[in-house]
Amino acid sequence: MSIRKIIDWAIQDQKSEMKGNIASPFYQYQDTAGSWVWACDVDLGGGEENSVLRSVPVASNNRDVVYAEQGKGVSLSRMGSGKWAITGLSKTLNSTVRMTLVTFEDDVFQISSSRMVGNIFRPLSYGELGTLIAPYGYGVLPYGLQGKFDPDGNLIGIVES
C-alpha cells in the first residue's frame, strides 16, 4: 500500500460534501441547546443496509428545501464539528447499486452472485393504486402518492408526504 493511496484515503475521509436522498418528511428537531431547527433523515445510498443519516438539520439559508419531497436529492456539507447539514438540492440522485460477489480460492476467482440493491422513489400509477393497495382499491389513496420500490419494481412502502 503506497503512501499515495493512504493520502488519497485521508483526503477522501476529509471530504466536505455528500449527496443523499430525502428519506423522511421534514420535521422540527430540537438540539441540545433547546433550539428548534428543521431537519429530516437522509439516505446516503451506496448499497449499505443501514445508510440513513438521522436528523440532518437544514442550513439556515436554505429553508426552501423543506418543501422538497421524499426521494429528492440533497447535498450535504460537513460543519466544523463534524456534523452534516443540508445545504441545498442536488442535481444527482442516489440510485440503484449492482452488487457482485466474487469468491477467491488459490489462484482462481469466480463470480458467485450478482443482484441489484437500492430503492426507487416514484408516484404510484393508476394501476398500482388499484391493485397494490389491496383491499382498498381506487379512491383511498390519492393519485400522485409516492411509493418506495426495490430495483425489481416491488413496492416496499408508501412514502409519507
Binding site: M1, Q12, K19, G45, G46, G47, E69, G71, K72, G73, S90, K91, T92, L93, N94, S95, T96, V97, R98, M99, T100, L101, V102, T103, F104, D107, V108, F109, Q110, I111, S112, S113, S114, G118, F121, R122, P123, P142, Y143, G144, L145, Q146, S161
Partner: protein, 552 residues
C-alpha cells in the same frame, strides 16, 4: 511486450548473449525529449547526435522507473559548474539506455529506458585521492511532476465521441506528446455518453488515467519514452513462458503485511437525465371577472412564479364557475401548452353580447314610442266641501263604477314604458350574470436529475467490519455492465496485488511492466516492476517484481 528484432530474439533464445549497452545523453537546450522519443532511432538525423556516456558510466542500476549510474570523469568534462559537457547532465538532460548484443548491429538493439535528470547531479572530488565521482539519477517520463500537478480544463466533447480522441487531445495539448509518442489505440471503443463532456480541474495524468479506466487500462511510459498502457484484465496469455527452471535463478514470496482491498465500488452518473416526479399537487390558480362585455378570456397559468417548474398530467378544477350566475353564459376549458404552463379558456356565448346590445337598442327605441291615449277613461267627480272656517278644499275622488267619456283626460299605461321595462329586465339579467370565476390547475410536478449509479464487487462472505474498500468515481462509464466489468476487474487486480511474487531470471529486454510470465508449475506472474544491475561483460539478472495472476 516490447518489440525486439528477430536477430536479437535469436541471440536471447540461444542463451549466448554478449552484453552490449550504451548510455546516450542529449543537451536539453538543443532538443526536447519529445523529439528524441519521436525519432526513429537514437542516431537519426532529425535529432542532434547524442553524447555517448558509456565510457564514463559504471555501477548501472536500471529499473522501469529510474536509471542511475556512477560517472567517473577524471577530466571534469561533466562538472556542473565548469565542465565543457555539463549540459548533458544538467537539469532536464535527456538520457537513454540502449541494450543489445556485441554481435548485432545497433539498429537491432533495444532502447530500454528514456528519461530526464531532474535537478542537478551530485558531484564529489576527494582531496586525498583526487578521485572525481558523480552519481547520476535519471527518471522516466512517468515521473514528470508537471503531468501530475498542473490542473487543466479540456475542450468540450459531444456525445458519441470516442474517449480515445479526448485522450490524444490531452496528450498533444497538455503533455506535449506527438502522435508518434502515444502507443494507445486511437479509438478505445467507448464513447462519451453525456451530451457535453469536459475534463476540468484535473491534472493531465489524472485525465488520461480516468479515460483509460473505462477500458481497464492504466497509463505508463515504456522504455522508449512512449505513452502506452497496462491492461488490468489479467485474462490474457503469458508474454513469456518459462518451460523449465534453467533460466530462473530465484523464486521468492516476499513478506506482505498489509490488508488488501476486498471491496471495489464504482460510481458513475447515468448518462440520461431521469425524471423525478413530485407528489400530485396544486400547481397554480387563476381567476377572472367576465360577462357580456367579454367574448373570450385566456388565462395563462404557470406552475411557478419563475416559470421554470415542469409538470405533467395537469387538469383544471373549477372552484367557481363562470356559469354560477342566473344564466349559463359561457364555456370553460383548459389545455396544457407546454411542460411549464397551461391556459384556461373562458368563452362567453355569442348570444349574450347580442342580447345585451339588442336590449339596449330596444330600450332606446322604446323611448321614442309615443304614448297613446283614448277617449274612454275613468270618471272623476269633484267634491267641494266648505268647512266652518271658510277655507275651500277641493278633492278628486275616483268612482270606479262611474265611467264617463271625458275627452283628453283619464289614466294611461304607455306602451313604450312597458317595452322599456322589458328591455331593462333583459339588460339587468345579463348584468346579473356577470361574475368572477376561479380555477385551480393540479398536476404532477417533476424535474430531471442525474442518477448516481453504482456497481460494487466484493469478496463473498465478507463481514461488514472486514471490508476494506476502494472507490472509483468515473463519469465516463455509461452503463451498469461497463461498471460491473471495471469493478470485478479492479477487485481481481487488487486481490492479485496482495499475492506478490519476485522472480529472478536471465535478462530478457523484451519484457515490460504489465506482461505476464508463466512459470513451469503453471502459475502466472504479472510484472509490476523490473530492475537489474548492468555490468560490463556480464549478462545481467532481471529481477521481476510482480504478483500472482488470478484466473476465472
Amino acid at each position: 511486450m516490447r518489440y525486439i528484432a528477430a536477430s536479437f530474439q535469436d541471440v536471447l533464445d540461444s542463451r549466448r548473449r554478449r552484453l552490449a549497452y550504451k548510455i546516450y545523453a542529449w543537451d536539453p537546450g538543443t532538443v526536447t525529449i519529445s523529439q528524441v522519443a519521436s525519432a526513429t532511432s537514437n542516431l537519426s538525423p532529425s535529432i542532434p547526435m547524442p553524447m555517448d556516456l558509456t565510457p564514463y558510466a559504471s555501477e548501472i542500476s536500471w529499473s522501469d522507473k529510474q536509471l542511475s549510474f556512477t560517472m567517473v570523469d577524471p577530466r571534469n568534462l561533466f562538472h556542473p559548474d565548469t565542465g565543457a559537457y555539463r549540459n548533458y547532465l544538467g537539469d532536464g538532460a535527456i538520457l537513454r539506455l540502449v541494450e543489445g548484443d556485441e554481435m548485432l548491429s545497433e539498429d537491432d538493439w533495444v532502447t530500454s529506458f528514456t528519461g530526464q535528470i531532474h535537478g542537478q547531479v551530485g558531484w564529489k572530488k576527494a582531496r586525498n585521492t583526487g578521485e572525481i565521482t558523480a552519481r547520476v539519477s535519471v527518471f522516466g517520463r512517468g515521473e514528470t511532476q508537471a503531468f501530475k500537478r498542473r490542473k487543466i480544463t479540456t475542450r468540450e466533447y459531444s456525445v458519441g465521441t470516442d474517449l480515445g480522441i479526448a485522450l490524444y487531445d490531452i496528450c498533444e495539448t497538455f503533455m506535449g506528446l506527438t502522435k508518434a509518442e502515444v502507443r494507445i489505440p486511437f479509438t478505445l471503443g467507448r464513447q462519451f455518453k453525456h451530451k457535453v463532456n469536459q475534463l476540468s480541474q484535473v491534472s493531465p495524468w489524472e485525465a488520461i488515467t480516468s479515460l483509460l479506466e473505462v477500458v481497464c487500462y492504466q497509463p505508463y511510459f515504456d522504455g522508449e519514452g512512449k505513452l502506452t498502457y497496462v491492461n488490468k484484465s489479467l485474462q490474457r496469455p503469458p508474454a513469456k513462458l518459462l518451460t523449465d527452471y534453467v533460466s530462473c535463478m530465484e523464486l521468492e514470496v516476499p513478506e506482505h503485511s498489509q490488508d488488501g482491498i476486498n471491496k471495489v465500488k464504482v460510481v458513475f452518473l447515468d448518462a440520461v437525465l431521469s425524471r423525478v416526479d413530485g407528489p400530485y399537487q396544486k400547481l397554480g390558480d387563476a381567476q377572472v371577472t367576465t360577462g357580456f362585455f367579454s367574448m373570450h378570456e385566456t388565462l395563462p397559468c404557470w406552475w411557478s412564479e419563475d416559470h421554470k417548474q415542469r409538470a405533467d398530467g395537469t387538469t383544471m378544477q373549477v372552484i367557481k364557475s363562470v356559469n354560477s350566475g342566473i344564466l349559463p353564459v359561457g364555456e370553460e376549458g383548459y389545455s396544457q401548452i407546454d411542460e411549464f404552463h397551461g391556459e384556461i379558456e373562458v368563452e362567453i356565448s355569442v348570444w349574450v353580447p347580442i342580447l345585451a346590445t339588442v336590449m339596449a337598442l330596444e330600450y332606446v327605441a322604446a323611448a321614442f314610442i309615443p304614448d297613446e291615449t283614448t277617449s274612454e277613461s275613468f270618471g272623476v267627480q269633484n267634491v267641494t266641501t266648505l268647512p266652518s272656517g271658510g277655507t275651500v278644499h277641493v278633492h278628486s275622488v275616483i268612482i270606479p263604477t262611474a265611467v264617463s267619456e271625458v275627452p283628453g283626460t283619464g289614466l294611461t299605461i304607455p306602451w313604450g314604458r312597458v317595452l322599456q321595462a322589458q328591455a331593462m329586465l333583459g339588460i339587468m339579467l345579463i348584468q346579473m350574470s356577470i361574475g368572477s370565476a376561479q380555477y385551480e390547475v393540479w398536476g404532477t410536478p417533476y424535474d430531471y436529475a442525474y442518477l448516481e449509479k453504482m456497481s460494487i464487487a466484493m469478496e463473498d462472505g465478507l463481514d461488514y467490519w472486514l471490508e476494506n474498500e476502494k472507490e472509483i468515481k468515473n463519469d465516463f462509464i455509461g452503463t451498469h455492465d461497463q461498471a460491473d466489468t471495471i469493478a470485478v476487474t479492479e477487485l481481481v487486480w487488487e486481490k492479485s496485488m496482495t499475492r506478490i511474487r519476485r522472480i529472478v531470471i536471465e535478462d530478457d529486454p523484451s519484457l515490460e511492466v504489465g506482461d505476464i510470465v508463466g512459470i513451469p508449475d503453471g502459475r502466472k506472474i504479472l510484472i509490476t516492476g523490473l530492475s537489474k544491475k548492468i555490468k560490463r561483460g556480464e549478462v545481467p539478472s532481471l529481477v521481476i517484481d510482480g504478483c500472482k495472476v488470478m484466473t476465472p
